[in-house]
Amino acid sequence: MAEQAIVDKEALLEELLASINQHKFTPDVAHVEIHGNQVLNKNLVDGLMVEAESIEDGVKVHIRVKSGVTLKNPVNFCFGLIPENGVQRIIIDTVIGEGAHAKFIANCTFPNAVNIQHLMNATITVEKGASLSYFERHVHGPNGGVTIVPVTKVLVGEDARFSTEFELIKGAAGVVELEYAAEVTKNATVDMMTRIFGREGDRIHIKEAAHLSGEGSTGVLTSHIALKNRASATIENELIADAPYARGHVDCKEIVQDDARARAIPVVQVNNHLAHVTHEAAIGSVDSKQLETLLSRGLTEDEATDLIIQGLLS
C-alpha cells in the first residue's frame, strides 16, 4: 500500500513537471511541487524556508527568505492538478527579509482540466531594501475548464522592489479573476505585468491596484491582452499616488479579434501636487501600420496578426 503511494506520487510528479516541460533541477536550485493538497517534492537552499501544510482542498504555504540573503537561482514552484476535475486552494504567506533578494518562478498547470478551480490567496511582504521578482506562468489544457482566482496583497517596504509577471498564453484561459493590490512605501517600486491570450468563451477579469503611499515610490501596471473568438476581458488598473515625488504609469493594450469583447478601466488618482501619474490604453484590432508593414514583407494577414500578438504577449 505504502509502496503504491510512493509510485503514484512519483508518477504524478513526473506528469506535473512534464506538462510544464520541466524535468530535472540541479541540487543548487530550490523547488517545490504541489499537486492538489499534497506536497510531492521539495528541495530548499540556505536562507530559504518553505513550510507547507495540507488542508482539505489545498495547501497553506509559508515562505521566508532570511534577511540579507541573496538567492543565487530562482526558486521554482509548481502547482497543479492532473485530473480533469477538482479544486486546488493555495494560501501563501511570503516574507522576503530585510535586504534579501529572490526570484520566484511559479508554474500552475492543469493540462487535462474539464472543471477545475485554482484558488490562490497570497500575502507578500518585501521588507526594507529587499527585492522579489515573481513570475507566474499558467499552462492550461485546450478545453478551458479552469477557473483561476488568484488574490494577492503585497506590502513593499522602504527602498524595496517587487515585480510580478502573470502569463497565461498556452491553452484556453477559462475563467480568470485576477486581483493584485500593492502598498508601496518610501522609495519602493512595484512593477506588475499581465499577459493573457483569451480564446473561445474565455472570461478574463483583471484588477491591479497600487497605492503609492511613500515619498519617491514608483509603480507601473501593464496589461497586454489578446482576445479572439468569443472571449471577453475587463481590465481594471488603479494607481493612486498620495506622496510627494511618487511616480506611476498604467499601460493597457488589448487586441480584439472576431467576436471578442474588451473593456479597460484605468483609474489614476493623484493626491499630492508633487506626484505624477500617467496612463495609456489602446483597445481594438491589430494596428493597421504594423499589419501593413508585415503584409508588405509578404506575410498573410493571419501570419502578420499572429506575429503581432506574439510580440504583444512576449
Binding site: 508585415l294 503584409l295 508588405s296 509578404g298
Partner: protein
C-alpha cells in the same frame, strides 16, 4: 526592360485628384527617384504601387513584369517581390528584431539577421535581442526596417523618404544599403525631398499635383533643387492642364 509600368493612373480623395493620369516606366535594376513638392502625390504613388488600404481604388493600371497587379492585395504584391520602406516605421511592442527581420526573409537563419543588421550599420550583438518598440529611436527603427527589406531580397523596393529621422552619421548606411540592393539586382524607387538622396539615383521623375512634369537623368533633374524647376503654376493651386504642358513640350 520595364519591371513596373504605371499606366494612366488617377486616384481621387474626397473628389480631388491626388494622382492624375500618371504614367511611368520603371526600368529593372536601376535606382529611380520620385521628386516633387509637398503634396505632389509622391507618397500616394508609393502606397498605390504597394496596394495599401485606402489606395486600392484608382483608375488606370499598374503592371509588374507586364501583368496587372491592380487586383492583388498587399501581401500578394510583396510575395511577387514588391516592398515598401515606410516613411514612419511602425513600432512592434515585444516583437524581437530578429523575428521582425526574418518575417519576410526567404532564408531564415541567424546569419541572415546578422548580415542584414551589419549592412544597416547596426551591431548584431546590440540589436538582435531587442524589440522593435519604443525603446528604439525612429532612426534605429528605420534602419531595422531597412535591414528587414535587405533580408527579404525584393525585386522592387519603394523607399518613402529613406533618410527622414536618420542622423547625419547614420544616413551613410541607408545609402550603402541602396547601393547593395542595386548591386544584388533589386530595382529601387526613392521618394525624396533631399538632393543628397537624389544623388544615389540614376534617374528621376518630377511630379507635381499628381502629374508627371519632367523626367530624366539624375544630373539634369538636380535643377529642381537648384530653383530651376520647369515652369509650373500649380503649387498650392493645382491645375492639371498646366502641369502636363511642360512635359508635352519635351
Amino acid at each position: 526592360m520595364n519591371l513596373l509600368e504605371i499606366k494612366n493612373l488617377s486616384l481621387f480623395k474626397e473628389g480631388r485628384p491626388i494622382l492624375n493620369n500618371l504614367s511611368m516606366d520603371i526600368w529593372e535594376g536601376h535606382v529611380h527617384a520620385i521628386i516633387g513638392p509637398n503634396g505632389a502625390g509622391k507618397s500616394t504613388l508609393a502606397n498605390t504601387i504597394m496596394g495599401l488600404s485606402g489606395y486600392r481604388d484608382f483608375e488606370g493600371d499598374v503592371l509588374f513584369e507586364g501583368k496587372s497587379i491592380k487586383a492583388l492585395p498587399v501581401d500578394e504584391r510583396a510575395r511577387k517581390g514588391i516592398t515598401l520602406l515606410f516613411q514612419e516605421p511602425a513600432r512592434f511592442e515585444g516583437l524581437g528584431v530578429s523575428q521582425f527581420i526574418l518575417a519576410g526573409a526567404k532564408e531564415k537563419s541567424r546569419a541572415v539577421v546578422e548580415d542584414a543588421l551589419q549592412h544597416a550599420g547596426l551591431s548584431p550583438e546590440k540589436y538582435m535581442r531587442r524589440a522593435v518598440d519604443k525603446t528604439l529611436s525612429g532612426g534605429e527603427r528605420k534602419r531595422i526596417e531597412l535591414a528587414s527589406i535587405y533580408a527579404m531580397k525584393p525585386r522592387l523596393v519603394l523607399m518613402d523618404e529613406p533618410d527622414s529621422g536618420v542622423d547625419i552619421d547614420s544616413v551613410k548606411y541607408i545609402f550603402a544599403v541602396i547601393k547593395e540592393l542595386r548591386h544584388r539586382g533589386s530595382t529601387v524607387i526613392l521618394i525624396t525631398h533631399s538632393p543628397e538622396v537624389l544623388k544615389h539615383a540614376d534617374h528621376a521623375f518630377l511630379i507635381c499635383a499628381g502629374t508627371l512634369v519632367d523626367k530624366g537623368e539624375m544630373s539634369r533633374m538636380f535643377d529642381y533643387f537648384n530653383g530651376k524647376c520647369v515652369p509650373c503654376v500649380h503649387v498650392g493651386q493645382p491645375t492639371v492642364d498646366a502641369a502636363v504642358q511642360p512635359l508635352a513640350a519635351n
